[in-house]
Amino acid sequence: MASLQNTTKPSGLNQDQHEALVGWLMAMPVIVLLLTFLIVPFFMAFGMSFTNQRLISGNPTEFVGLRNFQDLLTVQLLTLDPLVDETSGELLRDEAGNPTYPKLRDYTRDEETYPQYFRLQEWFSFQRNNSITYVLASDVVFMIALFNTFFFVVVIAPVQGGLALLLAMMLNQKLPGINVFRTIYFMPVVVSMVVVALLWRFIYDGSNGVLNTLLATLTFGGFKPVDWLANPQTAMPALMAMSVWQAVGFHMVIWLAGLQTIPTLLYEAANVEGADWWQKFRFVTWPGLRNTAVFVLIIITMQAFGLFTQVDIMTRGGPVDTTQSVVYQMVQRGYGKYDISGGSTISVVLFFIVLAISLLQRYLTREKN
């Protein structure tokens, strides 16, 4: 601080130059810090996604062009017709009477004849008429992670945003003690996701879990215990429910601030007109919340794409990859395997997805007049 004060009155500078110098010096710390720890890493993610950079490596780093993106994102369709007996023209059937198909391996291991399928793996397949169509991907786990993350976002954004609005409207009444409820609803937001995730691991437990107990009590013993996090069908919904529980208070408070900017005069006018509950919501509340809605939606989406801590602590991507997420894969590669370029490639893909979605959301929710 002392050095800064000394430099504020250097001789030979006029008033404006002096002001500019002080202005620069005051902004300098954050400029240097943001450059080093945000802007440079951000552009480095782009740069390194074109290389084979590793955190520690004996070999020099090479430029590999788009190979990382190809290795991550290639998806090909392969439709195979059933095998036919060459003389009779009849379908060859296996012992159960189902049509048989050429082996997938013949296509994905033959670089000379089928370079486009080389080294791809089966993501999933479906049958239509008699033929079978394989959806092949270069990186099946990443595709699953991408799909899961989108699924997470698509569910979380409306559910969490809607519930948050509902809670905000419940709290936006003039009742004695209403602040106590606001305090309680918001409480999980200040608790670390690490703590919340561990706590819910215990709540979701299959043998001793409190959730099973509660459900059994509420249904008078009719409910069969579920091992929520070990069951592929329930693991992701369980993560979602917990994530909403933890974060909904955050968005509730933002909605509440929005609700409180709507003049009560408008509601009084609506009452005079004889508007019912839904009309008041539709024509007074909702138009007054436009900007808040856009903001809440974008914030939830950005946070939801960052899905990591829950996965890391509760499921580690399992069971059978049903809770793999993009950021979890990014950390697995970038940190777990010291594969900086692989992790960076995922970072770049994630950035473009988030950017595209927030631009799309802004476009769809723009003022239409």
Partner: protein, 293 residues
């Protein structure tokens, strides 16, 4: 909101509203009550109780044994010191540097200011997760002056958990926003009286910037105290770890659930107390981050 018909229906409706509010409150409070109640029970009872609603009732053989056991399992003092030091240092420097920059952007004229500020605002769209991996690479190649002179690489240290998080665009944005709404005469009058820019900042502007300082402090405190991904990547050795990484210690050999609950309670209760004491400021700081959307 009500039209003022205070009949039987009004009170029934009022009771219904409170019932709904209470039901929702239970959903939010139960897991935390369960955590604190369980931390006081011996493991046998804890596991037995969790298969009934007794899980939420503090009864039976209550003691602080789990807390004692917890202290034996993790180097608690070390972790606590690290967490407090990292959180406090980052928050303090963040407030200082962000407010200085905000002051400069709002009140001083210098070339390039507009562009620099636009770039800072534009970085708000970068999700923190997307820079984590390249940041790991950047900090691994930075110099530091340590005990043995010049060293390369910041990994496995305390400062790697502090310095990258001091400046964040959002805090700067909040200060700029607040300063721009202040009357410029405040600054001009003080300058006329011969105050240096630093004096204007420290004696005129900062004393009336309490609300923004509180907002930045709270958001930073929450973010830093609860940080998990970054320390997981950079704090390899035990003496560098913050409290959040301590949870892994309870899942190594035998899982002692009572001790887990004691640890979770211990790292959460300070935040909860802080929150309950300052809940107005907490909620307002979150809300204020929303209105600007």
């Amino acid at each position: 909101m009500d039209t003022g018909i205070k009949g039987r229906y009004f009170y029934q409706f009022l009771a219904l509203r409170y019932l709904m509010l209470i039901a929702v409150a239970l959903i939010f409070a139960f897991p935390l009550v369960f955590m604190i109640v369980s931390s006081l029970k011996p493991d046998m009872q804890l596991l037995r109780d969790s298969s009934s609603l007794k899980a939420f009732v503090p009864y039976g053989d209550l003691s602080l044994d789990n807390y004692i056991g917890m202290f034996n399992r993790v180097p608690f003092e070390r972790f606590l010191f690290n967490s407090v030091f990292i959180t406090a240092t980052t928050t303090a420097f963040s407030i200082l540097f962000s407010s200085l920059a905000g002051f400069s952007f709002a009140f001083l004229k210098w070339r390039g200011k507009g562009i620099v500020l636009s770039i800072i605002i534009a970085t708000l769209i970068i999700p923190a997760e997307t820079t984590a991996v390249p940041l790991l690479f950047v900090v691994n190649s930075l110099p530091w002056i340590g005990k043995e002179g010049l060293e390369w690489g910041w990994l496995n240290s305390i400062h790697v958990q502090i310095i990258p998080f001091i400046a964040d665009s959002f805090s700067i944005f909040l200060f700029v926003q607040f300063f721009r709404d202040l009357p410029r005469e405040l600054v001009e009058a003080a300058r006329m009286d011969g105050a240096t820019w630093l004096q204007v900042y420290a004696r005129v502007i900062m004393p009336i910037t309490g609300p923004v300082v509180a907002t930045v402090a709270i958001l930073k405190f929450l973010g830093m105290w609860n940080q998990y991904l970054w320390p997981l990547m950079v704090a390899q050795s035990e003496e560098m770890r913050p409290l959040m990484l301590g949870v892994a210690y309870f899942f190594q050999l035998d899982v002692a659930w009572g001790e887990v609950m004691a640890y979770l309670s211990t790292i959460t209760i300070p935040v909860l107390i802080f929150y309950l004491a300052l809940q107005r400021a907490f909620i307002e700081s979150i809300a204020s981050s929303g209105i600007k959307g």
